[in-house]
Symmetry: C2
Subunit: 335 residues, 2 copies
């Protein structure tokens, strides 16, 4: 009987997440109950939200110390005790950070037969759809408007800019460091990029947005949100997608100027999660593939090798070291 | 030739507004230029926003030291050098705090022949329409939802609660002091009222909203907004109408938990001003009159006598001493 490599969260971090908060162990193969499917993880998604889950209940239960770290994977059914699934089926499942998991059939989602599988986590996955639905449904962009996105080189941000461009907007990215900023403009086609680590960040953002900011797609919160708030145009929209600047800390800090600027500028700040717009997922997938085919968007993936690379992969993601969608290859594509 | 009593803002306050920031003088009658109308002020509107104008440019220019204090009045045309206006016409005009003003005809708005005139500042004025449009268009209430409003005894808040009730919602008011809270329930028909000065405010708000908060109509910002933010239901809406807790200070303080709570709870925070919904003003007026006729809303007015009562009237309003719409009678109704 094969083992089941697992990574546990052994301590909930108060401040910065460290690899020492995790521990690898050889766990037991799970027993498959009636109504469940046993799956083998193939590709594990790493997301800033993983860190937010450690802070408490969000749209899902908190992750607690001593548990297998939570996470979603593309997985293959290896044994089924549920109607409608058979070995070899490809699914998306909340397996956590482990090689094998037994999951209630009602909680797994069948995946289309699409290759490479990694695209189902990036351009056709939560990353791409979060960018698409967030910008289009929440942001409601009009051609000619200026769209700013933070964490612009990340899994979601790297699609927000190109989608904004495809819709006729000016796209401005915010990222850490001149090299990443250059990459945003040269490789992803952003009109401009601004380094939030620059001491002149506020003025550089202003220079990059000569007509002000109509939509700010916020992945960071904190000081970057504040800089945008003060530069929003009347009737601007702030798409509240994430707050990665706030995840590695126990403080609840807020940008200054709220709610005053929302009142005076008649702004709309709105949070969402991707499943709010599930009814439009098919439209999103079709449009994203069409844009990818014509080069309007680029599919950027950052694939780490082996389950044991997950802890450092998440720590690094929170420090902004990834470009595009980061994931971990736990097992080869069985196809 | 008659004089023109004026009240100047002689100093822009950094912190709390005091009556010593104002000075009364006998000014000159203005000269009427071509295209202007000379008007006599009848009823001067006092609003928390008057204080915000002293902080800098908002939806209008800032009010500067040495200028006649800005404000809107119901006024009577006494001389016209503009087509379409004649002496005796009743208008709404940005006269400022003075007995007479000469105003470009394009900037005055003709008023309907309605009595008492004071209703045109309260139930049929900006106060009533701000409550109506803000709650209905921005808040989008559904029957059965819980609506909380701060500054609930004020000009706008005193309509928000009763409108929420008329729409089948649970209405909870936040005000300062047990007496005002009692009045909200007994006189205005709120389901519950909570005293923000109570040391147990957070828990009392929770007890008043057993099903959580679906819509928070925010007139205050600050700590009251924060208490609501933490108790909002998923997909809740925060109608950002004003931030009176922030006006009498030079600090830009924000409630904690932003944008994290907006993301996690998928909230919408949206600012507006009443003129954003001018196209629906006629509908608002008709509905408000119908509700007033059947007693569903009560028209609460707080009318001070004489222009010289304006400084103390505004200082007191910012301290929350008014109930319903506060205004100053500068001259008797000419009818």
């Amino acid at each position: 009987m094969p083992g089941n490599k697992q990574i546990l969260l052994v301590e909930r971090p108060d401040e910065a997440l460290l690899t020492s908060h995790f521990q690898t162990r050889d766990g037991q193969m799970p027993e498959v109950q009636i109504g469940e499917v046993l799956v083998r993880s193939i590709l594990l998604s790493l997301d800033a939200a993983n860190r937010a889950w450690m802070q408490g209940a969000t749209y899902r239960d908190a992750v607690n110390a001593g548990e297998v770290m939570a996470g979603g994977t593309i997985a293959e059914v290896v044994e089924s005790r549920a109607d409608g699934f058979k070995p070899g089926d490809l699914v998306m499942a909340e397996t956590g950070w482990q090689e094998f998991a037994s999951v209630p059939a009602g909680k797994v989602h069948r995946l289309p037969d699409y290759r490479p599988l990694s695209n189902l986590l990036s351009v056709l996955g939560v990353a791409g759809k979060t960018a698409y639905h967030g910008l289009i449904e929440v942001g409601q962009p009009k051609a000619g408007e200026t769209v700013v996105v933070s964490a612009a080189a990340g899994s979601v941000g790297s699609y927000v800019g190109p989608i904004a461009k495809a819709l006729g907007c000016r796209a401005v990215g915010i990222a850490g460091g001149p090299e990443k900023c250059e990459w945003l403009v040269d490789e992803l086609g952003f009109d401009a990029a601004v380094d939030y680590k620059s001491p002149d960040f506020f003025r550089e953002l202003k220079a990059a947005c000569p007509d002000g900011i109509d939509i700010y797609f916020d992945n960071t919160g904190g000081a970057i949100l504040e800089a945008n708030l003060f530069q929003m145009n009347m009737k601007g929209r702030i798409v509240c997608c994430g707050a990665v600047s706030q995840y590695n800390t126990s403080e609840l800090s807020s940008p200054r100027g709220l709610p005053g600027l929302v009142v005076v500028k008649r702004l709309r700040m709105e949070g969402f999660i991707v499943s709010d717009f599930a009814a439009k997922d098919a439209e999103a997938e079709k449009q994203m593939l069409a844009w990818a085919a014509t080069g309007k968007i680029k599919v950027i993936e950052d694939i780490l090798d082996g389950l044991e690379s997950a802890p450092q992969g998440l720590v690094g993601l929170l420090a902004g070291e990834n470009r595009g969608k980061r994931m971990v290859r736990v097992a080869p594509d069985p196809a």
